[in-house]
Symmetry: C2
Subunit: 473 residues, 2 copies
């Protein structure tokens, strides 16, 4: 380690002591302010809460201003407003763009809540309320980290805030807004806390999200349902045929057989695979939880890799013919399926949508007619673990947790993250402090108090390392 | 040809001249009597018609007595009564058991009928009414053939009549009755007119009916519907797995791959296959009618053989996961299918039910649980074309049509015919005089007048040949 780096590291330790003192002195107020945010029932999917969305956006604007921003405003959209705020300490310094959302999920079934979802209570070291984790609790850590740095004169770079009120309903307005205001939100990296970490003592950073392509398949055999006795054996059964078509798409190693399907999949580095597999995983309890005797997945990959870095080919639904009680002998005219493929970084969902459609239609046996309709799609997202911003995040967790965070590829999708990359050309660092057990989207959502405060500390540490180029890890 | 046979043939020609004269002299009355039968709305599936069922059975009893039977009676069952009648001219002579049914299908949709379904009219050389063909018109030919032979002293053997009123609702009562009265109905052959012939100038005899086995398959993967992103790739999808299981049951030649499935299939003789394929068939118009570009069927067999003498493996229904509008990303817990196999003579439906169940359950991949429930079954029926009674029927058609009838294997099932064989140990000869265009079970059912009279003649000819051992063909 060079002397310079030694000095910088010591400096960061001193900064952390100062900021920790500030957090300690203000911890009750931080919580009270978060509770104020939580008390606004900003359910984006229910139109009755429209006024609450505006109140919630204004609350955020005021919080950012109070924390020390140069400016903050509530910007209207066709849907719910977007809150934008910034503090530019020096245009030459790098800029962090914080993204979060102030809308929450509905609270049904309300009778399963132990307490009022919009009146937060502290119990067993946790905040219990809708939005406690997702995403009010997690996003508000950024406001308080920002305040702490401003008030202690330790903010090392520029900060921009961008908060939307439609994340739970598809981010429709923000997808357009970010195109219109891409100069306004120009930054070097996006910082997001809206995901989970592996366990309270196992910090992790989500480095990948899978994309999605989704189709409906219609197979037509004869032009009407037929008597299975009089015609069975002489005409193709569209259900049997659809089964065969689906079966052919995967080989005995559970590898997808559609030509060129894997062409754009970027092979994950050996180092990243090693790190991914450091996540704790117990096959026995995983199987027990699912109630299965055996797992099924692509040969040559671990369970963590199968859901993280490999694409899938899954039927989400299938139907055709007689589906009622008892028996009815019919040779159906039509068979249908809903097919989805989870995609991985660098696979373009639109390209895959066309590839699979063409493959299924062109390779259909000539005794049926096959129509494949792409229904829905989303781009995958991947963050390289050698990106300076990622290294800054790693260093931050080392400072606060004393452990290297595990890179985690989530099997799910957050489409707006891919949109940010496409429109703004920058990567997002997904520093999530939630836990799987936080019951987001369910009754009795909760968020650990120690995660809230340690999150603020880790975010502050990130800024310090990021401003130094992330080279202190 | 021996001199004896020459004499017997001449004798039959003379008998036919006598009986034809009787038919000609009584043809209007025959029709009026049939109309009386048709006018009774004996719809077995509608309980409001219960009194009509009894009236109809009594009408038949009286008709058999008037035709010259020794006795005839209406025998009650738990359901609709069975009409039994007989004329035993000599216990040492062979006995023909005539089977038919006096119940008819409902008349809905009534507004599509051009005339009152229970007031028969003659138009374009056809009788238009419910039951005109199925089975009042066809079964009543037997009463009039019987009368003709009795009145002209040409009845060469004993005759028994057995008419049920539940054929359209599953023959429940007769299935039990025939066990109880199997001594009463003891005979050498059963004669039935309740099927169709190929065309008005192409006589045919139905020599086979396919059996049926029917199952519901339940495939369970994980114990709950899962998020297809978070779990996709790491756990078996029951829909994909069910598709693969079904696909494996048939090979590229459309041959069923389940071990021992074909074990009991009796190979059809080369001569019968040749005769079967004499039935007119035009692939181009068959495909056009079904709206398909190509057919699919077992390699090595013609279309007629595929539906007649070969078993099938057809999904009648399949369902699982999300089947609504648009897209929902779910990895379903369950997948279901309704599977049916049409069976051919000598395949036992109960044996096949167990065979397929065991195969699917035992060969299920260990990452799913498969439960197969047999739902329904019926025995196939086959009549050898070298059976003396069959040869007698052939000879009868030669006499009246001047053509050898084509043996026809129907793809469908008439379960009571297999029951007769099982309980009584005798074969049925299915001399059907209906046509595909007769709209049985539909509005505007009809039956050609010339078929009615030529049917009577052919039935009389059958008796003559049958009494001589069927060796004059």
């Amino acid at each position: 380690m060079s002397q310079d780096i030694q000095i910088l590291k010591s400096l960061i330790i001193i900064i952390m002591q100062i900021t920790n003192n500030y957090i300690e002195a203000n911890k009750e107020r931080f919580l009270e302010e978060l509770f104020g945010l939580i008390r606004i029932p900003s359910i984006s999917s229910e139109s009755a809460h429209k006024p609450d969305m505006i109140r919630c956006a204004e609350y955020w604007r005021d919080a950012i201003m109070a924390a020390g921003a140069d400016k903050a405003e509530v910007m209207p959209t066709e849907g719910n407003p977007i809150v934008y705020g910034e503090k530019i300490i020096d245009p030459k310094l790098p800029t962090v763009l914080v993204y979060g959302h102030y809308d929450v999920m509905p609270v049904d079934p309300i009778d399963q809540w132990h307490t009022d979802p919009f009146e937060p209570v502290i119990k067993d070291g946790k905040i219990w309320a809708r939005g406690a984790d997702d995403d009010k609790g997690q996003s508000f850590m950024h406001a308080k980290a920002f305040e702490t740095m401003v008030k202690t004169n330790t903010l090392p770079c520029n900060v921009k805030f961008m908060l939307e009120g439609e994340e739970e309903i598809g981010s429709g307005s923000l997808s357009k807004w970010v195109v219109e205001y891409k100069d306004l939100v120009k930054a070097d990296v996006i910082l997001v806390s809206d995901t989970s970490m592996i366990a309270t003592d196992v910090p992790s950073i989500t480095t990948g999200l899978r994309g999605l392509a989704y189709w409906e398949i219609e197979v037509t055999g004869p032009n009407a349902d037929l008597h299975s006795g009089l015609f069975g054996g002489s005409v193709a059964n569209p259900l049997n045929t659809l089964c065969e078509m689906i079966a052919k798409c995967m080989d005995e190693n559970n590898h997808i057989t559609i030509p060129h399907f894997y062409d754009d999949v970027v092979t994950c580095s050996r180092r990243e695979r090693q790190l991914l597999n450091m996540a704790p995983y117990d096959e026995k309890s995983y199987k027990a939880g699912l109630g299965v005797k055996a797992l099924r997945g692509e040969k040559g990959y671990t369970k963590i890799e199968r859901v993280g870095i490999r694409p899938t080919f899954d039927l989400c639904g299938m139907w055709g013919g007689y589906t009622g009680e008892g028996s009815k002998t019919v040779l159906p005219s039509k068979a249908y399926a809903k097919l989805s493929c989870r995609l991985v970084p660098n696979q373009d969902h639109e390209k895959i949508a066309v590839l699979v459609k063409k493959y299924l239609e062109k390779n259909a046996p000539k005794y049926v007619t096959v129509k494949v309709t792409p229904l829905h799609g989303g781009q995958a997202y991947g963050c390289p673990i050698d990106l300076p911003a990622y290294k800054a995040a790693e260093a931050a967790y080392m400072d606060t947790y004393g452990k290297l965070p595990i890179p985690m590829r989530s099997g799910g999708s957050i489409p707006i993250i891919s949109t940010f990359e496409k429109v703004l050309g920058i990567k997002s660092i997904l520093m999530g402090f939630g836990l799987g057990e936080d019951a987001i989207h369910s009754p009795n959502e909760n968020y650990r108090l120690d995660h809230f405060y340690k999150g603020i500390e880790t975010i502050i540490a990130f800024y310090q390392h990021f401003a130094k180029g992330g080279e202190l890890a």
